[in-house]
Amino acid sequence: MLPFVPLLDAHAASAPPPKRVVFFFTANGTIHESWLPKMASGKLELSPILSPLEKFKSKLLVVDGLSHKVILEKSDRSGHSAGMNTALTGRNNQIIDPSHPLQSMATGISLDQYLADRMGAGTKLPSIECGVQADPYIKAFAALSYRGRLQPILPENSPYRVFDRLFRDVPDPSAPDSAAARESLADRQRVMEAVSKDLEALKGRLPQSDRIKMEAHITAVRAIEHSLTTGAGAASGNTCRKPDLGPPLDVWKNSNIPALARLQIDLMVMALACDLTRVGTIQFGQAGASHRFTWLGKEFVGDPVLPSACHTTGFHALAHREADPVSRAKLVKINTWYAQQLAYLLEKLASIPEAGGSVLDHTAVVWLNELGSGGNHSHERTPWVIAGNAGGFFKTGQVVSFPGEPHNRLLLTLCHAMGVATDVFGDPDYRKAGPLTGVTK
């Protein structure tokens, strides 16, 4: 690790530590009987898939039974892209290309972006979206995050690029204040100012449907302007480091997935530890991910693979065949591997001390999926696991079930967990019942 001294200690000892949220996405549904943990004499007893999280089980809240009701009841399209469209938006989707009916997009802002707008003002980046081979070819499948209606955000699949986004231009007080750096900063500010002016002027000259594009561009430019002058903070004095990414990896080679996952998680952890952002997403593939999990055993080698959203390959093909016992066993193995990656993330967050506890104590890590199960591409019983109790908000160490309730209620709960006391997130028809009950302290 390279030493890296933060510019300022963002939160002095007296102030309460900031809350943070990380969305951890994996695709193609789960195998419920191997996923759902039990309660035994008041204690959580983990399932095979969740077993790698044993060490953290007192910090887990497992939520069963929720469904994408808005898709089931309102959408023209169900399936992977619909799940992706609604998972974090709680909204219906819309087909955007009459010649390509699989291309749909969400009709509202996603929870991570909604929270970023409310939690990210002081940090360098309002949010960061990382991918591990999330094929960007069709945005309908690739985008989990949305800035608003039909405004997808693709995850960044290159850890090198994530590194650059996080750490570039971060003023480093240990380095001499170079004149060249100051000049290039001033140049950028000058250009961003000019670009903003152009966008503002054009906005009024375009039809309503195109103004939104100017507005999105303005928002992006403002965020860049802000990031140019915002340095790193720190959860605690000496944990903020620029991670060493090691020799460069091919970002699209199937067998590099485990190494890429490590890098993206390491970067996410440092993004939080250095207080460069407070909202993050990590996407393992896109909806319908077709990776081939060859590192989990020889039996995966024969799975066909295509790194595109194609119907006949790898993980996705296995999910379709979940009724077949061999495929089912493989799907359990895949999901267990994902739980190991989650455990690695939790381990890292727990190792950063903060306010008498660790960063994990002030964070909610939310594991979600675009489907309930892969075999029938169901939008019912979507599997949710929350880790960390978001500063004492959640009642963890339990599994709760809300059969048939809209997942919108969980999205609202997460708003409250982050200190955003709203009851108007997501589709208006599915938020009336408010946040989930029995999940908070």
Partner: protein, 566 residues
């Protein structure tokens, strides 16, 4: 942007104009979709504007009702080409941008706005390009010692700005840009100040978007000469207008249809037209899918990255040649028994390799090959990792050559192809598609067509035996306007398609979609008809189709959304 599909117009959205345009085919699509499940389609509405039924266009636009065209952001290819033409820089910086968004099969970036990450990439690219440009200012922005740097800068800003924004700068823009220069010049001198001006202009929305402002209007308007210049150059060159085109716009010579047609003809004679024609075919034929597609190396050891590159190059050269040599390009594209091969490809096609490393036009075995449809690139795109896909191939014919829309299968269906079974032929294995009533209707459209390609494996090599059975490539085309009937193999199928008016109209529609950056709509019916008639009159010379599209009302006007837009 097109109108949003109505809630119950499931899966296919609203029928595109090409379907309405071919009235019989439109009925067919509705029927097809109804048969595929719960989908319904809307009947075409009657066009309310005054029609120009003879297909002629008029310079006066009072009666024209054009479809709205959503704001387009430069595609990555357009960005790269534009930078090449503006700065002479061939570093292709946009290859690092997020992939383009395609609507109607063609990249146009009309739906999703930019994200912060993309704007950061625009910033990085602009800074790097400007830094490189600053090393060559003697060419780009020369300023001999006898001249005042301020005067040089003014000249540069006017000249470069006109090319970058594709129209002259107005007084306010000139002042604002000069202010950037002046402040920087004081600090760091001429070269650095020009560098900053370049970086700023390349990040301006006036460079990044193809702007056709409406200024609060609510009626169809004719485009200005500069806007037409921009539409023309990106349509035909996939790049920015050159000085000559901008001069024509300045002189008011780019509004009358005849003048627009004349300009289109000039552009087609320029070497840059090759970029536009290649770009069209790359997108129409989904060749970009090969960027991420791989084949099982155990089954297809010859499918190296070099071969992958070669098969794409073959198709792009072949298509460009078919268009630029003139004559009936549809017949050439679909039935030519010749193609461009290099040594590697020659092996795949079983012909003698050309001398040297390059590509050469050669004759192919005439009973095995026939135009685009049997080329390795198309066959490889329409295959899985291990197996050729009769379904994808049939779907391709229906969608890309007949302009029909086949809805995706119900999501709960396992679309993994039936597994290899030594006792059953592929046709037998796929037979469930056609016995299961929930699958049959759509697959009846795709499978019997797609099985005609069985002689080509997953990388497009010819085979006579597959899975230990002799290849059975007997197929049947049904449900078309004028191409129905049995055939044995893709060579016969291609001949059938080449003779079809529906196919020829569809190719015209595909070019139209690429020209206007959206799916065709009701308002386009006259423009499409005029373009098709001109295409037919010219003996199906695609260049004349391109000229006719450029002259059409739809190309020269921009409309407005009535009511709420998507």
């Amino acid at each position: 942007m097109f109108a949003p599909p109505k809630r119950h117009a499931r899966r296919v959205g609203r029928p595109s104009a090409s379907n309405a345009w071919r009235t019989r085919a439109a009925g067919f699509v509705v029927l097809l979709v109804a048969g595929c499940g719960a989908a319904r389609s809307q009947p075409p509405s009657v066009r309310s504007s005054t029609a120009h039924a003879d297909g002629r266009t008029s310079a006066v636009s009072a009666e024209v009702v054009a479809a709205p065209v959503p704001l387009r952001r430069l595609t990555n290819e357009e960005y790269n080409n534009t930078i090449r033409d503006l700065l002479g820089d061939t570093s292709r910086p946009a290859d690092a941008f997020a992939p383009d968004e395609a609507i109607g099969g063609f990249e146009n970036n009309t739906v999703s706005p930019v994200t912060q990450a993309l704007v950061e990439r625009y910033m990085d690219a602009a800074e790097a390009l400007a830094a490189r440009a600053a090393l060559r200012l003697d060419k780009l922005a020369p300023c001999p010692a006898r001249e005042l740097p301020g005067a040089c800068a003014r000249n540069f800003i006017d000249a470069f700005g006109r090319l970058a924004y594709r129209r002259p700068l107005d007084e306010g823009e000139r002042r604002a840009t000069l202010a950037i220069y002046v402040e920087k010049e004081k600090q760091s001198g001429y070269a650095r100040a020009i560098q900053l001006v370049i970086a700023a202009m390349l990040q301006s929305p006036k460079f990044l978007y193809r702007l056709e402002p409406t200024d609060g209007g609510s009626k169809t308007r004719a485009l200005t000469g500069y806007e037409i210049a921009t539409r023309l150059s990106y349509f035909i060159w996939a790049s920015a207008p050159d000085t000559e085109l901008l001069d024509a716009a300045a002189a008011g010579k780019l509004t009358a249809p005849v003048a627009v047609g004349g300009a289109a003809r000039r552009l087609l004679k320029d070497p840059r037209a090759v970029d536009g024609i290649r770009s069209f075919h790359r997108q129409w034929l989904d060749l970009r899918e090969l960027d991420t597609k791989s084949k099982d190396p155990a089954l297809y050891p010859a499918f190296t990255p070099e071969l992958k590159k070669a098969i794409v190059e073959e198709t792009l050269r072949f298509s460009t040649h078919a268009v630029l040599e003139g004559g009936d390009a549809v017949a050439t594209l679909l039935t030519s028994k010749r193609t461009f091969v290099n040594a590697q490809l020659a092996k795949l096609y079983g012909v003698a390799p050309p001398p040297g490393d390059g590509f050469m036009l050669v004759d192919l075995p005439p009973r095995e090959r026939s135009g685009l449809l049997t080329q390795a690139s198309v066959m490889a795109v329409l295959s899985g990792v291990e197996e050729a896909s009769p379904i994808l191939r049939g779907k391709f014919v229906r969608e890309k050559l007949l302009c029909e829309t086949i809805p995706p299968p119900p999501v709960t269906v396992d679309t993994t192809p039936p597994r290899f079974d030594p006792k059953r032929t592929k046709k037998e294995r796929f037979a469930q598609h056609r016995t299961d009533p929930s699958c049959a209707f759509c697959h009846e459209m795709m499978d019997p067509t797609g099985f005609g390609f069985e002689h080509y494996d997953a990388v497009g090599a010819w085979r006579t035996v597959d899975e230990a059975f002799p290849v059975d490539a007997v197929g049947m085309l049904s449900g078309t306007d004028d191409a129905d009937g049995p055939f044995d193999g893709a060579v016969e199928l291609a001949a059938r398609l080449s003779a079809s008016k529906q196919v020829r109209r569809c190719i015209a529609t595909q070019w139209f979609r690429s020209a206007v950056g959206r799916v065709d709509r009701y308002e386009d019916i006259d423009s499409l008809e005029a373009a098709y008639k001109a295409f037919e009159r010219a003996g199906f010379d695609v260049r004349e189709l391109i000229v006719a599209i450029a002259m059409s009302e739809a190309f020269r006007h921009v409309g407005f959304y009535q009511g709420s837009a998507p």
